[in-house]
């Protein structure tokens, strides 16, 4: 980055940085700082688990100490968390469940989902001291500075997590708040104790729906629970089914502008045979079959693909798979990437097994 109006101090700092980099070339100073404290490097954001708090039988809250590069957040935002599971790094998004704390720590709550590689790992194996990769906070699912006169939070399961952040932050400023939360049983309500306490001691009007006793909430029933829902600024977070139903319901009432949703994409990618491959930077989309390596398919479409041995040994053809699923033609092994992953794949031995987005 060029410093246009360089005062002596930054110039000195730049010179010192350059010198430090030369002293440790071809590594960078952070590589050595990491040896002593992995949280010091601002360039490589990480967080250390300092406490693991059980919430329900399948959910835990992790208290994280972020590294020096952490730039802060607003309640309701989320972070992407990189976790090594059996040696392989996976990234997932988790809501921050508290407003900024005086001690600078962050909290996320993870609920183990069936077959969830990352969630099960974090719930069962997190211990104080565990190091996680994190990204800066992001997301628009937050309370406006101008607090709404009437608010509604509609959540299900772990969808309560971003809302908890907002409640912990903004409840004192909210005059009229209704929260409808769905969970299988009373014991499955994450933050159940705290929510009930808030309902008893503050203005929060909490409506718990337990699927096992009340049956699954149908969106049409909402008017019975919250007759003035249409007048309320609403935040919805939960499984895809709830979000879809709520979106169409609000749209039918012509009040979509009063609704805010948070969707964490499901990471289930169904693998098939072949698929549409998009080379984003080259602006080319092709249909690749299940037997043709992406390298060959790309070349046939006239793209200048990086290549090497064409037999899977030299890594000369490696490109990031932004999103999609590919099959290793040597052994049929599937590699899946979800948005934000950028998994590097060997294009010479990988065929499309679904829609793929390649970074080239």
């Amino acid at each position: 980055m060029a410093i246009l109006d360089a005062t002596p101090a930054p110039r000195l700092k730049t010179a010192a940085t350059r010198l430090a980099r030369l002293v440790v070339t071809p590594l960078v100073p952070e590589d050595f700082l990491d040896l002593f404290n992995p949280l010091t490097s601002p360039a490589r954001l990480r967080a250390k688990v300092v406490e693991v708090r059980p919430e329900t039988r399948d959910a835990v809250t992790l208290v994280l100490q972020p590294g020096r590069g952490w730039r802060g957040h607003v309640a309701g935002q989320y972070i992407r968390v990189g976790v090594d599971v059996d040696g392989v790094r996976h990234w997932r998004a988790y809501s921050l469940t508290e407003p900024p704390r005086p001690d600078g720590r962050l909290t996320i709550t993870v609920k183990a989902i069936a077959d969830g590689v990352v969630s099960n790992h974090l719930v069962r194996r997190s211990r104080p001291g565990l190091l996680l990769m994190i990204d800066q906070a992001t997301g628009e699912f937050t309370l406006p500075a101008q607090r709404p006169a009437k608010a509604l939070f509609l959540t299900a399961g772990s969808g309560v997590t971003p809302v908890m952040g907002m409640l912990r932050d903004g409840l004192p400023d909210l005059d009229d708040v209704v929260m409808v939360h769905c969970a299988p049983t009373a014991d499955d309500v994450i933050y159940g104790g705290e929510l009930r306490h808030l309902a008893a001691t503050s203005g929060l009007q909490l409506i718990e729906r337990h699927d096992d006793t009340h049956g699954m909430l149908r969106i049409e029933q909402l008017a019975e629970l919250v007759p003035d829902f249409a007048e309320r600024e609403t935040w919805v977070c939960g499984p895809t089914g709830l979000l879809d139903a709520a979106e169409s319901h609000w749209s039918e009432h012509g009040i979509s502008d009063r609704m805010h949703t948070e969707r964490f994409r499901p990471t289930i990618v169904i693998a098939g045979e072949g698929g549409r491959v998009t080379f984003a930077k080259s602006d080319v989309t092709i249909d690749a079959d299940a037997g043709t390596p992406i390298l060959a398919a790309g070349e046939a479409a006239g793209i200048l693909m990086p290549f090497g041995c064409r037999m899977g040994i030299c890594m000369g053809c490696v490109l990031p798979l932004r999103e999609g699923v590919v099959r290793d033609l040597r052994n049929g092994e599937l590699t899946t990437a979800v948005e934000g992953d950028g998994v590097k794949i060997q294009t010479c031995i990988s065929a499309a097994a679904g829609e793929c987005h390649i970074d080239l």
Binding site: L19, L22, V23, V24, T25, P26, L27, D31, F32, L35, R44, D84, D86, G87, V88, R89, H90, G308, C309, M311, G312, I313, C314, M315, G316, V318, R330, N331, E333, V343, K344, Q346
Partner: protein, 384 residues
């Protein structure tokens, strides 16, 4: 060595085409077993090696700040030499092979790694991963057979130039990292007027930039930081680089030049099958036997055969698959070349000395006319 296609009795004459394909499937199965069991233990291994290497380098360089004291000089130099060897061998070489790409950690990935060696990683990955590992020991294709400055196979044509090859080899060993950089730039090709000059200039600039940075670090900055120990630190860094060069050169010589390692003709790899490729890797490399410390210091290239069969499998697993690979060699009646470090190194040097002369020895020198080169057979496939 003589290309197996030109030997009176080919070492693979007893194998049918079906045998070779079955052999390939067996080797694939070993690969799958490792791929399926890669995990936390392996990730912890490479992270530990990287961390240890960095701690050792840091400690050695710190000790060298007072290298005016001879014990500090000695300890620092030994430590730095080991750190540099680990960095090049068990870490750099293997990471750039993509052995750890499966971890999806951008910090330990073939596409991002840069090593403490004169040659930039991109250039090295091309000449090593793509050319050497694909065309292993194919005469005229794999430039690692003598690096273009030596004759290491009877089938490479002799000229007077090669009389000096023991000396070239020694000099190359001392300056190995620069030798590799020059080799990766294909300087020989450019000198002969072949090759893309523009591309060469671009690549040469990259290499020179890197060399400049490294030389500044080792021969200027660290000595300056050492103040009154300027000269001893400079000498220590030079010694560590020399030790690393000599060691890596020796290890690599043991991989392909000792007695018993086979070479192949260009024609033999036309339409090569996966089984035939595996077979060529089996015959085209040699191991070094020894203890764990030796394996670590060679970057597990002491398992050169296993490395050539599976260049992208994590190096810490080669030792585990070696007995299975050796069993396959035995069952298929093939020669698993291995021996102690002195034995293999001696054998490789013997080749360098022997082939400095024409194939018929001193007698050939008297009459320097080139002996007629045997014509390769029409379809000298690996299978007889």
């Amino acid at each position: 060595m003589t290309a197996i296609q030109r030997q009176a009795v080919s070492p693979v004459a007893h194998l049918s085409a079906e045998d070779i394909e079955t052999l390939g499937h067996e080797l694939d199965a070993i690969r799958e077993q490792i791929v399926g069991s890669r995990g936390e233990r392996d990730a912890a291994y490479i992270r530990k090696v990287i961390e240890t290497q960095r701690r050792l380098e840091l400690a050695s360089r710190a000790v060298l700040l007072v290298s005016l004291f001879p014990p500090a000089w000695l300890a620092g130099t030994v430590g730095l030499s080991i750190a540099k060897i680990l960095e090049n061998m068990e870490i750099g070489h293997n990471v750039m092979h993509g052995q750890w790409d499966w971890m999806r950690d951008p910090a330990i990935h073939s596409s991002t790694w840069e090593w403490d060696n004169a040659t930039p990683s991109d250039a090295w990955k091309h000449s090593h991963n793509q050319v050497h590992h694909k065309y292993t020991n194919v005469l005229g294709k794999d430039n690692d057979l003598g690096y273009g400055i030596m004759r290491v196979d009877e089938d490479q044509r002799w000229s007077k130039f090669y009389l000096g090859q023991p000396l070239y080899n020694f000099l190359n060993a001392c300056l190995f990292e620069y030798g590799i950089a020059a080799y990766d730039l294909e300087i020989g090709k450019v000198l002969k007027g072949r090759g893309d000059k523009v591309e060469f200039k671009e690549k040469a600039k990259g290499a020179l930039r890197k060399i400049k940075k490294q030389a500044t670090r080792d021969y200027l900055l660290h000595p300056l930081l050492s103040g009154p120990s300027f000269l001893p630190t400079l000498a220590a860094n030079a010694t560590a680089n020399l030790a690393r060069n000599l060691w890596t050169h020796s290890v690599i010589m043991c991989g392909h030049f000792p007695k018993g390692v086979e070479t192949f003709t260009r024609a033999s790899i036309v339409d090569e099958t996966r089984g035939e490729w595996y077979l060529r890797q089996m015959l085209g490399a040699g191991n070094i036997s020894g203890r764990n410390a030796l394996h670590m210091m060679t970057g597990n290239l002491s398992f050169q055969i296993e490395h050539h069969l599976y260049p992208d499998l994590p190096s810490n697993r080669y030792k585990e698959i070696a007995p299975k690979v050796q069993e396959i060699f035995e069952r298929y009646g093939l020669n698993y070349v291995t021996g102690s470090f002195p034995k293999q190194l001696g054998s490789a040097w013997a080749t360098v000395f022997r082939l400095a002369l024409p194939n018929n020895g001193i007698a050939g020198l008297v009459k320097t006319e080139r002996p007629a080169r045997p014509e390769p057979e029409a379809k000298p496939a690996l299978a007889a």
